[in-house]
Symmetry: C2
Subunit: 199 residues, 2 copies
């Protein structure tokens, strides 16, 4: 098998194992098995467990913020931005439902590792705040601080993914029902937010 394929297979396997077990919980042996290769090869390609983790994490983290940034600077009204960001987030996370817990876990056990990716993202909430102030002044929405609006929206989008077992149990949903619940949240969240910021 050629080099590139092997490397990609390792990364794929590593991503799955690290995401479900975390850095400390993951075993190089398990990653090797999952990739259908040998433990020694992992070190041949990535030198150490930590470097392999870094490779996985940078890939994941690198995809987190660009979408957000794109929305913030887009030429859209607040309502359209809200509509857009909720859809993008739910779709993105829905395709990789364990990413949020993985990120939060890394964020808490290893904050330094994370900071550079946040900085690289170059998200500037100032433009959003200005837009909010503008639209509020014109009576299109009520006034609200960007740091509350953004956090509220993202919280509502992400939370059901890592609290899944709790929610599913408390509301007695089976897997299928939970899938439907997640889908229903798209319009629910948008509706919830728009009603809240209406004048």
């Amino acid at each position: 098998m050629n080099t590139e394929t092997t490397e990609l297979q390792i990364l794929k396997a590593a991503r799955e194992v690290f995401i479900s077990k975390g850095l400390e919980g993951a075993r190089m042996q398990e990653i090797a098995d999952q990739a259908g290769i040998n433990k020694a090869l992992l070190h041949y390609y990535f030198r150490s467990k930590d470097k392999l983790f870094e490779a996985v994490f940078s890939e994941v983290a690198g995809n987190l913020f660009p979408a957000m940034r794109q929305v913030l600077v887009a030429e859209l009204g607040i309502r359209e931005k809200i509509n857009f960001v909720v859809k993008i987030y739910l779709k993105g996370i829905g395709e990789n439902p364990f990413i949020p817990a993985f990120v939060i876990n890394t964020l808490n056990t290893n904050p330094e590792r994370f900071l550079k990716y946040i900085k690289e993202a170059g998200i500037n909430p100032g433009v959003l705040q200005k837009q909010i102030d503008d639209e509020a002044a014109h009576g299109l929405i009520r006034h609200i601080k960007a740091e509350h609006l953004m956090v509220n929206i993202i919280a509502m989008c992400i939370f059901p993914f890592f609290a899944r077992p709790i929610i599913q149990n408390v509301f007695a949903m089976n897997d299928q029902e939970y899938g439907a619940y997640l889908e229903s949240r798209e319009s629910e969240i948008i509706d919830f937010v728009l009603k809240s910021i209406a004048v």
Copy 2:
């Protein structure tokens, strides 16, 4: 030193280390150091690392849901309940800001361990749904499903605690400013929700 004191000191130290490092990341040596005792004593009191973790986790998990349950069955209108639950949650978590990440982490790496505590909690959202339907029928609030309202509220309360490094960086807050931000969220969340469910 007497038995009880030592056991409590071990539990305290174990709680701190497990919460910041997770089950796999924690070291028995570190727990022993933190407790000011010897590694062997940990095993004398708790037999194994896993049993020690279980002791810590059951204590933490056992305190999570009772508050929520109490609010659900209280004799209060929806608006008062919302007001109440936000305050209770923010206060409770504020005193132990790393609990949410710890729980989410355990929840994802070891779901089985969690399920029994959820079941024990005996939270019944049916009563809340009935109350919502009632108040909506009387035109006091708009209609909304309990599984959206509850998840939205809790998400907004908890999220800032485990996303702290991200939020703090994106909005360029220092530690003091972040403390003020967390405090300001109490009234912001209540306001945000009440405006959203107004008729």
